[in-house]
Subunit: 169 residues, 2 copies
DNA sequence: GTTGAATACTTCAATATATAAAGCAATATA
DNA sequence: TATATTGCTTTATATATTGAAGTATTCAAC
């Protein structure tokens, strides 16, 4: 029975290690990508979101990026100064400002190809059909596990709880 | 055949969306966790690495975090000022500095329980055995796909290449 | 429709993050 | 023993980030 709890423990460790590798690789890569585009990482994220979403607003950017509106104002300032995005007053609500990407900004995004994403897409396409399906399912499950709002998890998971995992098979 | 390429395309989209959700959730959470520990996110990462690794050095921290040594010096300065870590001259190589966490710093880490990780561990423990195994396998595969150093991927993946994925079943 | 609260955004002041370049010791190499 | 390299810090500078305060607009309640 000790071996079984160890199995759970090992799997948790392995999955956390893999997760950290994913986080580290993508974060490190984001810097290179931003540098290639000639902007800072935070500015690049604004560009990416503004490029994808129609009618992006500072508030929406702040929420999406997890920073304050004040921060977004500064980031947008920098990008406006360089002609990468533009501020367009909203027609519907004059309190709002729509941040839209310029042709120049869109070009800058195209010119800095996201090699990491391309590498992923390439590798993914070469997987067997069932592997692809499994990967999507697993990633979505992990995202759900992390994202879950409805968490009635006890604030601290004790060592006892961890070792008494319910899948000791 | 069009349906098949669409299947690949959809799966790629789904997996990228799930990946972004994972990245976003963990990043947003890192800020809350740092705040709970009374430090900034960058400082917390130093604390976490120093806590896990024996004989951490500024160079090693810089590599691990993907920032310059100068940045690490500043971060360590802050943490030293607050008694969270200490600089200990290396015995082996007197150019090196070992950054070690203090009891106080270790306590600060314990006092700010990583709810996100706990949530993950809890949810993981409740999965069926085969699901756990699949998750670990998938995460490791994704980490490998992103991490791959041996990348002979063409610099830009064209739309044609994407649509002509090899798993159109 | 006038008042008052809420919303969206910006400005300001202060701190944190990040870097390159230059400098200093200690080590390695020749 | 010169000389180069390595590990780290200092300095100067730019960017990021925030809370708090301020402006303008909208909404809600009379």
């Amino acid at each position: 029975m000790l071996a079984m709890t160890n199995k759970l423990h090992n799997r948790i460790d392995e999955s956390l290690i893999a997760l950290r590798r994913i986080l580290r690789t993508t974060e490190l890569y984001a810097r290179d990508l931003a540098q290639a585009a000639g902007v800072t990482p935070a500015q690049l994220r604004v560009m990416q979101i503004v490029d994808e979403v129609d009618n992006a607003t500072p508030k929406m950017l702040a929420n999406q990026m997890g920073v304050s509106q004040a921060t977004v104002t500064v980031l947008v300032d920098k990008l406006v100064m360089r002609g990468i995005v533009e501020r367009v007053p909203s027609e519907l609500d004059r309190r709002q400002v729509n941040v839209v990407i310029s042709d120049f900004g869109q070009n800058a995004l195209k010119e800095a190809p996201d090699a990491l994403q391309q590498r992923y897409v390439h590798a993914f396409a070469e997987l067997a059909d069932w592997e692809q399906a499994q990967l999507v399912s697993s990633l979505e499950r992990v995202a759900d596990m992390l994202d879950a709002k409805n968490t009635d998890v006890s604030p601290v998971l004790t060592a006892g709880e961890l070792r008494a995992g319910k899948n000791s098979e």
